[in-house]
């Protein structure tokens, strides 16, 4: 199991277009960008709908269930902020509610060897400070 206790994670700096995402994460009720014309969810946020070119985009709630789309196990300890957690699993998750919207995260509360393509995961929230909470994932029951 990776030891995350000493990790110094870089703090995300929300901008005008990503603020709703981080505000929803802080409320622990995640919202992703959704096209109001065709219904397509996308992540990271983008200026236009990548499916239909609409500019009518809003953030809408999504459930926390998803699947590991891909992953890597980080062994290189060149980044000292994460060196104490090595080896650790960086995963890419596709949420059931938002097919095609891929989110990066870590697999928490499980040995890194449990990361496999297709494995079911659920969202948990990791508070970094008063402003920023990260959406993260653990194995689904």
């Amino acid at each position: 199991m990776s030891d995350w206790s000493q990790t110094k994670r870089p703090i995300p700096v929300p901008d005008q277009w990503t603020k709703p995402f981080w505000e929803s994460a802080k409320r622990e009720a995640l919202e992703l960008q959704r096209c109001q014309d065709c219904g397509h969810f996308q992540h990271p946020p983008y200026p236009t709908c990548v499916n239909c070119m609409s500019i009518d985009l809003k953030f809408e709630p999504v459930g926390g269930s998803g699947t590991i789309y891909a992953y890597t196990i980080m062994y290189h300890n060149g980044d000292k902020r994460f060196a104490s957690a090595v080896p650790y699993a960086s995963i890419i998750v596709e949420l059931d509610d938002a097919p095609g919207a891929l989110m990066a995260a870590n697999l928490l509360d499980a040995p890194y060897t449990e990361a496999k393509v297709g494995r079911r995961v659920e969202m948990v929230f990791e508070k970094l400070n008063d402003d920023i909470t990260l959406p993260q994932f653990r194995l689904a029951d």
């Binding site: 990790t7 110094k8 994670r9 870089p10 703090i11 995300p12 700096v13 929300p14 901008d15 990503t18 996308q42 992540h43 990271p44 983008y46 990548v50 789309y69 891909a70 992953y71 890597t72 196990i73 980080m74 062994y75 290189h76 060149g78 980044d79 902020r81 994460f82 957690a85 080896p87 650790y88 960086s90 890419i92 095609g100 891929l102 989110m103 990066a104 995260a105 870590n106 496999k116 393509v117 297709g118 970094l128 990260l134």
Partner: protein, 394 residues
Amino acid sequence: MWENRCKIAISGVGYSKATRSADIPLAAHALEAVKEAVVDSGLEMSDIDGLSTYPELPATGHAEVDGISVVSVNCMMAMLKLPDLTWHIQVGTTNIGGAVQQAANALLAGVCKHVVVWRAMHNPRGTYQNLPGDEAHGAAQFTGPFGFGGPGQGMAVAYTRWLETHDQDREKMATLAVTQRKHTQHNPHAYFHGTELTKEDYLSSRMVAYPFCLFDCDIPVQGAVAIVMTTADRAKDLKPTPAYLAGYGQRLHFEVAGRIGSLSSYMEGGSSSSRLTWERSGFSPKDVDVAQIYDGFSASVIYGLESYGFCGEGEALDFIQDGRIELNGELPLNTFGGSLGTGRIHGLWHIIEGALQASGRAGSRQVKNANVSFVGASAPIVTGTTFIFVGDPY
């Protein structure tokens, strides 16, 4: 077929030394490579009237200083003082393959006669790809907090997706690393010339970002390579046997800018780009005598072999076995050693080797009777550029 098929040629190549650290400014490496390419062509420097490059430093968190960590067109112009310079460009996307394609377009348009294209790569001190500072801005706000930014992670996630959806075994990649290192021993300019690699070395090497071990990653070096391009009618009068450009394709593929981990983007970029190259050149994968496929990370070769049509999806790790990619195999691959052998100079070296093989100038690594020479000059997700060079224009 393309109306401009075989109307442009590569007629000169040059290399600087590739060193692990930056002992001299990068501009000096670039100048060395450019001078050598011009000497190889038989031209005088004053004959050069076009300049083209892609100057990006792929490392993050390091200052871009012209002449030190990048070599822009401005920098080259100031060094060369070309009396008849009429055309110059540096591309901001499609990597160095795009710079070569722009040079071909300019020559076809008749706005210049002899173009030099160079790629110079710096190896900064300290870590190569870590997000600097305590904050994550822009696209990094969705990756940096998760420790997702180190060497090769963006490529590694696509590779786990490929391995596990196709039920494949990463140990088969040893064949690629070992075969390319064998080829490297025929390339005196390569960083790993003189250093052998065995299957056991590969299998026991330390993991960097699973599924990538150390020998799946090209080593960052400081160095430069360069080519001279001209029109086919002028090329006939120059010193080397010309390598004619039979066709090219370019196609980036992003479903969402900044999106990571998408194997489908690699595959779409590669198939869209190569489709243009096959159509324009009139060739198909079965016609190819020798292939160079960008290998900054080993898995790029796998996505390339499949998306360009050399084998089916999920088959590439089996395709490279049984001697098929050896110099005397069915599809000799990365015959100069690839980036895994030369060090990280990006795709211009793949283009150089494609040209040398087509024109019979590859020395002890020359593939017998090679005529149709394919190049996939960069990973299709960021820079899908593909080329076919031929020795006999037909």
